[in-house]
Amino acid sequence: MINIKLNVNGKDYSLEIEEDKRLIDVLREDLRFTGVKEGCSEGECGACSVIMDGRIVNSCLVMAVQANGSSIVTVEGLVKDGELDPVQRAFIEKGATQCGYCTPGFIMAARAFLNRAKDPTREEIREAISGNLCRCTGYNKIVDAIEEAYRYEKGI
C-alpha cells in the first residue's frame, strides 16, 4: 500500500492505495467518478480521458502513483454552480452523442483543446479529438459541437 495525494475536481484527497492501481481505478473505484469510462484499457480509445495538470491524458495509462500531487479534472468536475460547461451544452445542443460511451472522453479532450485554442478550424478540431474513438456518431456532430462551444465561450 502507498499514500498519494490528489486534487480531483477541486477537492483534495489523501488516499491509501495498492501500488499497482492505475489512475482510472482510483478515480472510478476509490473516488466513484464513474464518468471516466474504460473502453480498451490500453491507451487506444480515449474513453478514459481526463485532464491532469492541464493536459489531456488517458487515465488507463497513468499509474496512480505517477499522478501523486497532481490536479485532475473529470467530466463530473465541469459543472460550475449547477451550470453545464459550454462543451457539455454544445454536445447536447448539436446531438453529438449517441450511445454516449465515448462522450465523457470527448468532452474532456474538447475542454483541454478549447482551453488553449484560438479560432480553431474544423481540421484542428479533428486533430484534437483524433485520440478518441467513436463507433456511433461519425464525429461530424462532435466537431460541430466543439465549434459551437468555442462560439459560446467567445460570445459569438
Partner: protein, 330 residues
C-alpha cells in the same frame, strides 16, 4: 501516381424481421396522478434515438407537449414486449404501437370525460393540449389533471399492438412480399487514390436517405454520419483477421476504425416521402444509412484506376498489390 475518381452506390433495404415472421411491438399508455402520461415500451435505446422518437410520437398522438410524456423503456417488469432494437424496426414498429395505444387511450379518456361533463356520448369530444373538450361547445372541457383526480386510485390505461405485414416467399417461385416498408438510399463519393501506396483519400461525400418522415431530423443526420463512418471503416480498414476461428486483430491499434481524421465532411440529404403504414410516415434508417457507401467507394476506385475490387477491407497493401497486378496484366 495519384488518381481521382467518382462513384455512386444505391440501395433499397427491407426493414423489420420480414419473410412472414410475426414482427410485433406492444405499448401501454397510462394516465398518471398529476395528469401527465406514462408511455411504456420494451424497445431498447442503444444510442439511435428511439427514446426521443417514442416521446415525440406519443406527444404528437396525444396532442400534448413533450414534457408531459414520461417514457419508460427496457424494463421487463414494467413494460410490454416491443421486440428487439434490431432490423431497423423500432421507430416504425414500436412507433406504430405507441400511436395505436395513444389513440385507444384517447377513447378511454373521452369515456371518463363524458361522465364528468354529463354528456350523452363521446361524439365530438376532442383530446388536445392536455384537455378533453367538446368540439361543438368548447366551454365543456376538463383537464387531464382533473380526470386523474376524478379517477382517484383507479388506473386509466390503454394498450396498443402492431404487427408488421410481410409474407413468406414462395419456395417454388420465390414470389412474395418479404419486407415492408423499404427504405432507399444513395451515396456519392469523390476520392483520390495513390496507386503506389494504395492510400485512399475521400475528398467529398454525399449521402441521401429516404426516411418517410424525419421524426427528428437531427437524429436522422446523426445516424447518417454514423453509418457513413462505419461503412468507410468497413470498406477501407476494418478486418478481424480471423484465422481458424481466432480473432487476430483484437485491439483498436490492429482492428482500425475510422478516427475523426479519417472521416471527411459529409453532405447529408434527407428525403421525406411519408409511408402510409408508418407512424406519421416515419420509417427506420438505422442500418440502411451504411449500405450504399462501400459500393460508392469501390466504384470510385474503379473510376479512378480501372481496377475492380472484390474483397474487403481494401487496405492500402491489398490495393497497391491490386494496382501492380493490374498493370502487369496490362
Amino acid at each position: 501516381m495519384k488518381k481521382r475518381g467518382r462513384g455512386i452506390g444505391l440501395s433499397f433495404y427491407g426493414t423489420g424481421y420480414g419473410n412472414g415472421f410475426p414482427d410485433v411491438s406492444n405499448a401501454w399508455v397510462r394516465l398518471l396522478k398529476d395528469g401527465k402520461i406514462g408511455v411504456y415500451v420494451g424497445g431498447a435505446e442503444v444510442g439511435q434515438g428511439a427514446m426521443t422518437a417514442f416521446v415525440q410520437i406519443a406527444a404528437e398522438a396525444l396532442g400534448v407537449p413533450h414534457d408531459r410524456v414520461l417514457l419508460e423503456i427496457e424494463d421487463t417488469l414494467t413494460t410490454p414486449d416491443s421486440g428487439t432494437a434490431a432490423a431497423t424496426r423500432q421507430t416504425y414498429n414500436t412507433g406504430n404501437a405507441i400511436k395505436i395505444a395513444c389513440e385507444n387511450f384517447k377513447e378511454k379518456l373521452k369515456e371518463v370525460a363524458k361522465d364528468i361533463l354529463n354528456l350523452n356520448s363521446t361524439a365530438a369530444l376532442e383530446v388536445k393540449d392536455g384537455e378533453v373538450y367538446l368540439e361543438i361547445f368548447p366551454q365543456k372541457r376538463v383537464s387531464l389533471e382533473k380526470i386523474a383526480d376524478f379517477l382517484g386510485g383507479n388506473i386509466l390505461e390503454a394498450e396498443g399492438s402492431f404487427t408488421a405485414q410481410t409474407t413468406k416467399l414462395d419456395p417454388e417461385t420465390g414470389q412474395g412480399a418479404p419486407y415492408w416498408p423499404y427504405t432507399f438510399s444513395a451515396c456519392g463519393v469523390e476520392l483520390e487514390v495513390d496507386t503506389i501506396t494504395g492510400q485512399v483519400d475521400i475528398l467529398k461525400a454525399v449521402l441521401v436517405q429516404d426516411v418517410g418522415r424525419a421524426v427528428n431530423p437531427h437524429l436522422v443526420e446523426g445516424q447518417m454520419d454514423g453509418g457513413y463512418a462505419m461503412a468507410l471503416g468497413y470498406a477501407l480498414f476494418e478486418d478481424l483477421n480471423l484465422k481458424r476461428g481466432v480473432m487476430g486483430n483484437r485491439k483498436f491499434s490492429k482492428y482500425l476504425i475510422p478516427t475523426s481524421m479519417d472521416v471527411t465532411e459529409l453532405t447529408k440529404i434527407i428525403v421525406e416521402d411519408p409511408e402510409s403504414t408508418a407512424p406519421y410516415g416515419a420509417k427506420g434508417i438505422g442500418e440502411p444509412v451504411m449500405i450504399p457507401v462501400t459500393p460508392a467507394i469501390l466504384n470510385a476506385i474503379y473510376d479512378a484506376t480501372g481496377v475492380r475490387i472484390t474483397e474487403l477491407p481494401i487496405t492500402p497493401e491489398k490495393l497497391a498489390k491490386a494496382f501492380s497486378d493490374f498493370e502487369k496484366e496490362g
